[in-house]
Structure formats: structure tokens, C-alpha cells
């Protein structure tokens, strides 16, 4: 909103004539934080940015190092590490596999969570706590415990289900569980933002069955939460190392780790690209998530 303080007050209080009067002298200045506070804020901002950006710069610097110039003895800049991503054995395949796992995880997570959560809110609200507890449980279980628990199952699948059982795509089942806490939170906050029960009642009274109620009425109104949940799931899957490594599946993180031992420059280049990809996704959510703009405005005039 581009209006000054006076305009904003007037717009927010349509019936508050008294609020339209001139604000007391110095009221505008009073809103500005004291100089010391502003300095402290900038200091914190710079520290945080430094904390986040410096390692990225270091990675960029490291991954773009070229050969030593024989004349000047200075390091040259080169993108050969990035070009090598395409030729490093197994790396491209592992990236494709990880993206496939991420896509399947997102699909499975949404299929599991969205109908369950909507049903819980609308039909059995007393179960909300139970569902929340179950979804948050993976946070409290160490990865090694999960691996020990599911190890025999994977062993069985590998022995009896042939190529399907031995496929790294079976990691999807574990990844769906791992992303539940984060995805649950994202979708739950969106569901709390709308009157889910009333919208569902309204849709059903108009003739919609449950599938239409969920997919035509509820889902479009929690798109922001679904998008956030999906991006968080993708970021988590692309960053998951422990379980893949312990179960001996070559996902991108495992291959990066192995590559790091052989060619650290390519390893860092891939890591940097993965981070940039994750940041780009998060930025896209905050910038383009539906509803953010709409929630900011509401009609205030009330015609009789």
C-alpha cells in the first residue's frame, strides 16, 4: 500500500471518523526505531547474511578454480567442474534417481496427508492431536533406528521382488515418512487459515461428494500449504544422505560424498547447485505462493 500513515488509518477504520484527524506531532517519528536498535538490526542482518553467503562464496570460489597459470603462478577461473558433472560416472543417473524419488515422495505425501487431514478436520476433529503426534514422530526417531527397523524389509524386497525391490525408488516409502513432520505443519497451517468444516458442509449441501469437496473446494484454498509442503519434501529428499547411504542406494548425496573423495571440485560444484536449487524453490514459494496477496486486502465498506 502506498498511502501514507494517515491514509492507512483511514482505510483500516472505515467508521472511525476520529481516527482521520491529524496525528499528534512526532507520531510518525515515534514509529522509527532508535538509532542504536537500527544499528543492532543491521549488525544481526549482516552476520546472518555472512553466515549464509560466505560458505556459498567459498564453494563458488573453490568449484571454479582452474589450473595454475604457469607464467603468473596465479589460479585461473574455470567452469570445468560444472562441465564434469555431465561426464562424472553415475552422477547424472543419481541426480535423475533423486529427482524421481522426490517427485514420488511429493505425490505419495500429498495423497496420504491431504485427504487424511481434511477428513480429520471435518469429520473427526478430536483425532487431530493423534494425527499430529503420528506425523511429528519421525522427528524424534534417529535415522539409524529407522534403518535398523526397515533393513529387513528392504532385504526381503531385494531378495523377492527382483529389480523393483532393489530399485532406489523404494526409498520413497521411507522418505514419505521422513517428510511428514514438515509437510504436516505446512498443510495444517493452511487448513487453519480457512474454515475447512464450513466450506466442506457448504460444498456437500450443494451436491458435491467427498472427492469433489476435497479437490474442487478444499485443495484450491490450501494451495500455498501444499506448495510449501511439496518444496520442503523435495529439499529434504534431495538432502537425505544417511538412510540412502546405510541402505546402499546411490542417490545424489551419496554420489556427491563418494565423488568428494575422488574429485572434490565436482563434488562442491554439485553441492552448490543443489543449494541454489533449494533456495530458488523456497524463494518461489514466498514470492508466488497463492493467497499471500489476497489475504492482505479485504473490503471494508458495508453497504446497507
Amino acid at each position: 500500500m502506498s498511502a501514507g500513515p494517515l491514509g492507512q488509518i483511514g482505510a483500516a477504520e472505515p467508521h472511525g471518523g476520529a481516527l482521520l484527524s491529524r496525528p499528534p506531532k512526532g507520531a510518525g517519528k515515534g514509529r522509527q526505531a532508535p538509532r542504536s536498535q537500527r544499528i543492532a538490526r543491521y549488525a544481526v542482518l549482516i552476520l546472518v547474511l555472512g553466515w549464509l553467503v560466505l560458505p556459498l562464496f567459498a564453494m563458488l570460489e573453490f568449484s571454479t578454480r582452474g589450473d595454475i597459470d604457469p607464467v603468473t603462478k596465479a589460479a585461473t577461473r574455470s567452469l570445468q567442474s560444472y562441465a564434469a558433472i555431465l561426464t562424472s560416472p553415475g552422477l547424472l543417473d543419481s541426480i535423475i534417481v533423486s529427482l524421481q524419488i522426490a517427485a514420488l515422495t511429493v505425490f505419495g505425501m500429498l495423497l496420504l496427508l491431504v485427504p487424511t487431514m481434511v477428513w480429520t478436520v471435518v469429520r473427526v476433529p478430536r483425532m487431530r492431536r493423534v494425527i499430529e503426534f503420528l506425523c511429528l514422530l519421525p522427528l524424534a526417531i534417529p535415522a539409524i533406528v529407522i534403518v535398523v527397523g526397515v533393513g529387513p524389509i528392504y532385504q526381503f524386497m531385494g531378495q523377492h521382488l527382483g529389480a523393483v525391490g532393489a530399485s532406489p525408488l523404494t526409498l520413497t516409502f521411507i522418505d514419505i515418512i521422513l517428510v511428514l513432520p514438515y509437510s504436516y505443519r505446512a498443510i495444517d497451517s493452511s487448513l487453519r487459515g480457512i474454515d475447512t468444516a464450513t466450506l466442506a458442509d457448504a460444498a456437500r449441501s450443494l451436491g458435491a461428494g467427498w472427492p469433489r469437496t476435497i479437490f474442487q473446494v478444499i485443495v484450491p484454498n490450501i494451495r500455498g500449504g501444499i506448495l510449501s509442503a511439496s518444496v520442503l519434501a523435495i529439499a529434504l529428499v534431495l538432502g537425505e544422505f544417511t538412510i540412502s547411504s546405510l541402505l546402499s542406494f546411490n542417490t545424489v548425496q551419496v554420489v556427491i560424498y563418494l565423488l568428494g573423495k575422488r574429485d572434490p571440485f565436482v563434488s562442491v560444484a554439485v553441492s552448490l547447485l543443489a543449494l541454489v536449487f533449494a533456495f530458488a524453490l523456497l524463494f518461489a514459494i514466498s514470492r508466488f505462493a497463492p493467497g499471500a496477496e489476497r489475504r492482505g486486502q479485504r473490503a471494508t465498506e458495508e453497504p446497507a
Partner: protein
């Protein structure tokens, strides 16, 4: 129980609705205790009562949004008790704003028709017609967040009517609105309801709304229907103590009852059926039936006077310390000032009385 006929009932094309001995338990809470109501085609029944009395449960049961544990619901003679909500063809307007935020007004109104397979052109035309009916033709392309609360509830009404429902259910649709909008919208709802002749169940805790809108008003208390009657009858001839005290303002004035009458402030007043008719009682007298006359030797003293526009309300204390409220035309209250002596008398209209 028979239904009172009304102008809308006579001209309407609505259907009859019957609640037959409905019971509903929530755990140990008996929310509906044998509720039975006959609603005539085209009639608007207002269910009135305090929070938790079961009025919304009854409405939700009719709409299929809640189940009944015992009893039946008949609509146009057909048993609808176990028919799913989406097969009942009933229009519901909810207390909370229930427009789908991702759809424009037009799409909201057309949604029910879309579910019924009506083609885009026809459903948009119908939506436009309905929006015109509620006076929001110009708002067709707006999203709910771009409209005020009153406009949203109008669109919700248009959406409920667009599917040409058998019954219209209004679940406190005005309670989230401010007083001025509430009044204008309730008149609009009533106008449309009479025009379409649609059978309507309206749930509210606001007496004024119920009395102003209902062909008949049902007063509910603790899951039971205390009385159902046309507004004037409900107000003038309450059948139970709860109705007498819940509907309208009531003075409790001590008196002695005998032979079907009660002596109140020196006036013998006939008792309504069901009232305590023997011994010391408290007569429940409407403020407009209390008459004040300025008199130095009067039996009351004015405590306070409230100006309400065309009306005026005065608080008077009697010799036994009973405080009585009298209501009169503002023009008749010029001599009433705090401290003035007045003679208090009661108009001999039938009253309800309870044991003291």
C-alpha cells in the same frame, strides 16, 4: 401439531417438512429430546433459543450435516432421515462466511449447477439472475475477499437458491453482521422467501429476528420445543414459564392468584392457561402493560428513565422494593423524572404467573 397458514404458505410452491420425534445424543448430552415439528409448504419457521438448546442440531439434521439417533425427517412426504447431504437438494446459508475463496461470486453461485451438469452458459445465466435477485449483479466477478460480510451472505443466499432447493436452511446467517446490515438483510431474505414461496427453517438466538421473520416461531430449551406459534401469539400467550421469560422483556410482580385471576398492583388480571393459579405468585407482566400516572400519593417512585426514540422506558420501585419496568410512547413520558411519585397499574391483559 398443525401448522399455522400464512400469506407465504398460501402462495408458495414449497414442500412440507416433518420432524418426527427426533432424538440426538452427543455422548451423555441429550441434544434433541423428541423434537416434533410440522412445517407447512412455503412456511418460514424460526427456531429460537439460547445457545446449546438444540436448534442448530435440528437444522443440521434436516440438512443432512448431522445424524439423528432416533426419529424421522420427512420432506414432501419422503423419508430423508438417512439420505446423504449431497442428495437432499437443500440450500443452506451458514453463520460463518462459507463462500469458496477461490471462486468469484458468479462461480460460487453457479457451483451447485456445475455439479448438476448444467452447461456453462445456462449456469452463468442462472447465477447472474440469482445475483440480481439479491442485488449484487455488479459484484459477479468479485472474489469473496473483495466483498463485505453482508455482500458475502447475500451471495451465499443466492448460491443456496440457485439449485432451486426443496428447503432453505438459514443457520444464524445474520449474526456476524452489524445491526444496520442485519436488519436490511433480514427484510431482504424475507422478501425473497415470500416471493419464491420456499419452505424455510431459520435458526437464530435473536428474538427480534425470529419474531420479525417467522410465520411461526419455535422456542427451544434444552433439546425440547417449548412452544411453537405465530409471533404475536407467542408473545401474548406464552404457554410455559421459559417462553414467558425468554421472549420479550418481562416484569416479575408479586401478586395473589385465585379463580383464574391474579391481583397485581391493585388490578385483577386474568391468568393464561398453564400459569400457577393459586396462592402467592409472581405475575410475568410485559413492560407495555404497566401503566404509570403521575400522582403525589402514588404507590411507586421513578428510579430512571431511558429514551429509546419513539418509546421510553422507566424503572419504578414499588413499596415492597420490587423494581418494575414500564414502557410507553415517548410523548407520554414528559412528566416522568427520576424521584417523581407515580401510580403504578397493570393493563388487564392475560399474564403468565409462577409460584413465588
Amino acid at each position: 401439531m398443525t401448522s399455522a397458514t400464512s400469506s407465504s404458505a398460501e402462495t408458495g410452491h414449497g414442500v412440507a417438512v416433518v420432524f418426527e420425534d427426533m432424538h440426538r445424543w452427543y455422548g451423555t448430552v441429550h441434544a434433541l429430546q423428541g423434537l416434533s415439528i410440522d412445517i407447512a409448504p412455503g412456511e418460514l419457521i424460526a427456531l429460537l433459543g439460547p445457545s446449546g438448546c438444540g436448534k442448530t442440531t435440528a437444522l443440521r439434521a434436516l440438512g443432512g450435516l448431522d445424524v439423528v439417533d432416533q426419529g424421522r425427517i420427512l420432506v414432501d412426504g419422503k423419508d430423508m432421515t438417512h439420505v446423504p447431504t449431497n442428495k437432499r437438494n437443500m440450500g443452506i446459508v451458514f453463520q460463518a462466511y462459507s463462500l469458496f475463496p477461490n471462486m468469484t461470486s458468479r462461480d460460487n453461485v453457479a457451483y451447485g449447477l456445475r455439479l448438476r451438469g448444467v452447461d456453462t452458459k445456462a449456469r452463468n445465466a442462472k447465477a447472474q439472475e440469482m445475483l440480481e435477485l439479491v442485488g449484487l449483479k455488479e459484484q459477479a466477478s468479485k472474489y469473496p475477499h473483495q466483498m463485505s460480510g453482508g455482500q458475502q451472505q447475500r451471495v451465499a443466499l443466492a448460491r443456496a437458491l440457485a439449485i432451486e432447493p426443496k428447503v432453505l436452511l438459514l443457520d444464524e446467517p445474520l449474526s456476524a453482521l452489524d445491526a444496520k446490515v442485519r436488519r436490511s438483510l433480514r427484510e431482504e431474505i424475507r422478501r425473497i422467501q415470500i416471493m419464491l414461496g420456499i419452505t424455510t427453517l431459520f435458526v437464530t438466538h435473536d428474538q427480534e429476528e425470529a419474531l420479525a421473520m417467522g410465520d411461526r416461531v419455535g422456542v427451544m430449551n434444552a433439546g425440547r420445543l417449548e412452544q411453537i406459534a405465530p409471533p404475536a401469539e407467542l408473545y401474548d400467550k406464552p404457554k410455559t414459564r421459559f417462553v414467558a421469560e425468554f421472549v420479550g422483556l418481562t416484569n416479575r410482580i408479586p401478586g395473589k392468584a385465585s379463580d383464574g385471576t391474579v391481583d397485581v398492583a391493585g388490578t385483577r388480571v386474568p391468568l393464561l392457561p398453564g400459569a400457577t393459579d393459586r396462592g402467592a405468585v409472581q405475575a410475568l407482566v410485559r413492560p407495555e402493560n404497566v401503566h404509570l400516572t403521575a400522582a403525589d400519593d402514588g404507590n411507586g417512585r421513578v428510579l430512571a428513565v431511558s429514551f429509546l426514540g419513539s418509546l421510553c422506558r422507566a424503572q419504578v420501585v414499588l413499596p415492597d422494593e420490587t423494581i418494575v419496568v414500564a414502557q410507553m410512547a415517548a410523548s407520554d413520558s414528559t412528566q416522568l423524572i427520576p424521584g417523581a411519585a407515580v401510580r403504578v397499574s397493570v393493563v388487564p391483559a392475560p399474564v403468565f404467573a409462577v409460584a413465588e
